[in-house]
Amino acid sequence: MVIAIGFEGSANKLGIGIVHNGVVLSNCRRTYITPPGEGFLPRETAQHHRSLVLAVLSQALREAAVTPEQIDVVCYTKGPGMAPSLQTVAIVARTIAQLWNKPIIGVNHCIGHIEMGRMITGSDNPIVLYVSGGNTQVIAYSRNRYRVFGETIDIAIGNCLDRFARVLKLSNDPSPGYNIEQLAKKGKKFLSLPYVVKGMDVSFSGILSYIEKQSYQLLKSGEYAPEDLCFSLQEVLFAMLVETTERAMAHCGSQEVLIVGGVGCNLRLQEMMETMCHERGAKLFATDERFCIDNGVMIAQAGFEMFRTGNLTKWDETTVTQRYRTDAVEVTWR
């Protein structure tokens, strides 16, 4: 019986979660929300996390009804992410690991998403579509690694959506992507946008530049409403994702898809993926915002898997890193 606590703070979410052998005991989260038209900057994000981390920690312990003594392992996000916020959270994890005298494990953020998705949905060996503000990857497991079959060759999908939300001055509460999704539901008129698929890779930066440049004129002339632009952008971006995911499925002969990451809770994306899976006789696994969006549980779960297989992090390696590839981690638990 292992109880693991996970600390996450790679971007604007601060999350602490506790899992007990695959059962979620608590999942607490705070989001740093910036004014419309602005993104979150590293320094301010770290300040946000610093001011709340202890309150969230006691809430997580309280909700899980566990005492520090009962915890077996402390897990934290080693990377990838923004350095200041990663550091803030890592320092807290290192401190309590010492105070409570527990082993510590540095977890790859992307692996966290995958392992938690597998735990929550019970999918065994899926093709993983990992879509968030910082990452866009199509991943499959093979020979002890999560191998990246396709990914963005420039910016992440969430970054593309967030930045377009800034152009429209949409609210960042609860998230810019959520507000784009709501507007897109009312969109009707389709604007033709570039569609950029390169093998199993995708590229979003050109699409963003295009729509950024066009939107002012299109909105001013009344030819398109903001709703139409959100709708068109979503349709094109998601079609690209579904297509590359399908390519990976055909390439690997897989019959399962798991969507993880913040953009993964977009219902239109899930719907499109479901349609594709249905046509192929495949199965889709997806989760809701509690687990899709960055959280502490995912770090605890991946850390638990590592702990179970004796994969502890040496004390002098409990650092953080901004770049940490999904395929850099040796998977010891599968």
Binding site: F149, I153, F190, G199, M200, A250, H251, Q322
Partner: protein, 241 residues
């Protein structure tokens, strides 16, 4: 159902052999020749307008690239018929061929059984890698960007004299472009595909690149420079230090 009607329209000679990501692939006879029919069926997850547009573009790209390759002396399946209405391309069924993917897997398994080293496996694949590099060099020297280079999209044909020929297929994502950027991304896509599919022979790409440089001499320096730039973008590299 419309779908069944379409299948019938292909005639009873055609048998569905594969449903890829983009198309259903049928095998059969057309005008007395062994033929592959690639049907880019409707993708209902995409908006109809978007789907129609993409499909049409890809059928066009495929047909154009095949023609260009022929002029450049690069082997591709011969084109028999393009049917926009039914979203189909009829083309030559290349006889005695295996995909490079299957070939590498087969050779790897053989090598494993013989308990050979990774080095000896690489030696065995060397002539193929050379040939691939040469074909790609020629492709880019003619400004044809394939757009989806993987080991599944290359066929290996061996004739009676054991001469190896690489046949390129699946030109749906191709376009004609002289920019170094597109050529570099084309190579990058291939390297990534090889890394994820054939992790045991990750050094294969170096040989391919070598042969590519020799073939596409004029641009080799600039393509390589761009290639390194593409790798440095985004989150693709690990931060050291």
């Amino acid at each position: 159902m419309a779908d069944d009607g379409r299948k019938c329209a292909l005639g009873y000679d055609f048998k569905l052999i594969k449903q890829g990501a983009e198309a259903k692939v049928y095998k059969g006879n057309y005008l007395g020749r062994p033929t592959i029919v690639k049907e880019r069926f409707k993708k209902s997850y995409r908006l109809l307008d978007l789907d129609n547009h993409i499909t049409k573009e890809r059928i066009k790209s495929e047909a154009r690239a095949v023609l260009r390759c022929k002029i450049a002396g690069i082997h591709t399946p011969a084109l028999y018929l393009v049917d926009f209405e039914r979203r189909c391309i009829y083309m030559e069924d290349v006889q005695n061929s295996t995909t490079i993917k299957d070939y590498i897997t087969q050779i790897s398994e053989e090598a494993e059984n013989e308990a050979g080293t990774a080095g000896s496996l690489l030696m065995k694949l060397y002539p193929i890698a050379q040939e691939i590099g040469k074909v790609l060099g020629k492709l880019h020297a003619n400004n044809i960007i394939h757009g989806d280079l993987t080991s599944s999209n290359m066929l290996l044909v061996k004739d009676e004299k054991d001469t190896l020929t690489i046949v390129l297929i699946d030109f749906g994502l191709s376009h004609v472009e002289s920019s170094m950027e597109d050529k570099a991304v084309d190579l990058y896509v291939l390297q990534r595909a090889l890394m994820s599919t054939h992790a045991n022979v990750d050094r294969l790409f170096a040989t391919i690149l070598d042969a590519y440089m020799k073939e596409n001499k004029k641009e080799s320096h600039e393509v390589l420079k761009k290639f390194n730039e593409v790798w440095a973008r985004g989150r693709k590299r690990t931060m050291v230090g």
